[in-house]
Symmetry: C2
Subunit: 286 residues, 2 copies
């Protein structure tokens, strides 16, 4: 596995790979790898000639009071994990190499970015869309793989790639969970023992909501109230930032679960804000 | 010369050209070609294996009260001109093929876009930056050529390409002028006879300002006052939208002409808003 930190060098390599007609599978990450990340790497490994993983804790997608400074990092471990997963190139740029001091260009995706995490993190998706555009320009991948845990991010990137005609296929992959259902996240290390015991109820609450939708209950208020009651009862250490039902593509709130609907939640624990979501599939109308 | 109107087809062609290691020179235009355009095409023809010219009157860069509907068009003439200039591909997409009904992604370049034309046309450069990003993704050029008449546009695109790591070399080329100094523009057809007689004074006023700077006058107010007086005296049919001295890269106003400075003007005639600019080179300090 080759480690590349210079963006210019990464771009030269990617241009050469394109000349050689190699397919390039790309997994953009912020590091601190867990099985959620490796599942994306393995997906790319099975389908691409060359697998590139970027490891970049992007300052532009953190708000001023968020956890940029203490975002967990472990480059030695990440290097080993990536090598074991068959990654060919680990791209590890420095923030100073990615952003000129007078950088002033932003990619924004209106609508899709507005609700859910975009409501509590107003510049987050602008930072995500801008850095992913930059990474796509540097890595020039055939396809890029994103986890469905960040489903709004996946929707934002999919819309952006379509709207800007970026020649990259965007692939979403299922959430990887602990045995008790907690979605894997680099931020789970910040949970206290008690919080860790309560956190799986985020998934269980969403599962219960999805089950109600699957059973034919179409009123979103009823579905969400049930999920909210479960969280209140079993995860009292978490403050619900949002719990919503949205359209899978536009990420706009829906009132009636008449087709596929994403149930999404963000829960703030003392030192970690966790997100999770689940696709609910209501039964077809008779 | 091949005419391509489908964006998907354009992108497939450009990916093949890249595989074949062809250099692609690209000239994005809104059509109604004059010698300003052909000078860019000829520059590209001399340096690229394949020359692509796009002809797209981009609705997103026109404000609600601007001249989108009457922007001059003559596709038959343009086709002939492009073929004579040795263009290989004329890319003529429809607006509906370029923008999905729910398109919501925008590229913005703060700072560089704010003053001059950005002040009177608040969404103009957002529309330009977004469509040029799209065109770059579709055409995938080695280099792209822009006229210096739209010098703020050139500064916006240069900054954008740098900030987003877009692998395209941006080239600016000198303004082409009529014998009397009027900068060529597709909008010159909208000038009345009297306005056409007065319009060359835009260039003469900027020339006079540049001459003052070259003679060692560093106070920008003095330089601009002289240029403004000339416009008031000799181009009274035009209303000055702006007349400013700015830094050539950041497009921010300067107060002292201590180094290269762009003198830029926009003048509104009855049916045409004309822009022009000139690089002023003050003498080096002793």
């Amino acid at each position: 596995m080759r480690i590349v930190s210079d963006p210019k060098q990464m771009q030269e390599i990617s241009i050469d790979l394109r000349y050689e007609r190699k397919t390039v599978g790309f997994v953009p990450t912020m590091g601190f790898f867990h099985q959620g990340h490796t599942s994306l790497m393995e997906y790319a490994r099975e389908r691409a000639d060359v697998v590139v993983v970027s490891l970049f804790v992007n300052p532009a997608q953190f708000g001023p009071n968020e956890d940029l400074d203490r975002y967990p990092r472990d480059l030695d471990h990440d290097r080993e994990v990536a090598a074991s997963a068959g990654v060919d190139i680990l791209f590890t740029p420095d923030p100073a190499a990615m952003y000129a001091p007078d950088a002033s260009t932003f990619v924004t995706v209106e609508g899709v970015s507005a609700g859910l995490c975009g409501a509590s993190r107003p510049t987050h998706f602008r930072g995500v869309a801008t850095v992913v555009t930059k990474l796509f320009m540097l890595v020039n991948p055939t396809f890029a793989v994103f986890g469905e845990k960040d489903r709004q991010q996946l929707a934002v990137i999919s819309r952006m790639v379509r709207d800007l005609n970026i020649p990259v296929a965007v692939v979403g992959r299922p959430i990887v969970r602990e045995a008790d259902g907690l979605a894997l996240s680099s931020r789970n290390v910040f949970l206290s023992r008690e919080e860790r015991d309560q956190a799986p109820w985020i998934n269980k609450a969403l599962e219960a909501g999805a089950a109600l939708a699957a059973s034919g209950i179409r009123d979103v208020k009823t579905i969400l109230a049930a999920a909210r009651d479960i969280l209140a009862a079993y995860a009292p250490l978490g403050a619900v930032d949002y719990l919503e039902a949205v359209d899978p593509e536009s990420m706009q709130p829906v009132e009636t679960a008449a087709g596929p609907v994403v149930l999404a939640a963000a829960v703030q624990f003392s030192r970690a804000r966790l997100i999770d979501n689940r696709l609910a599939l209501p039964p077809h109308e008779a």
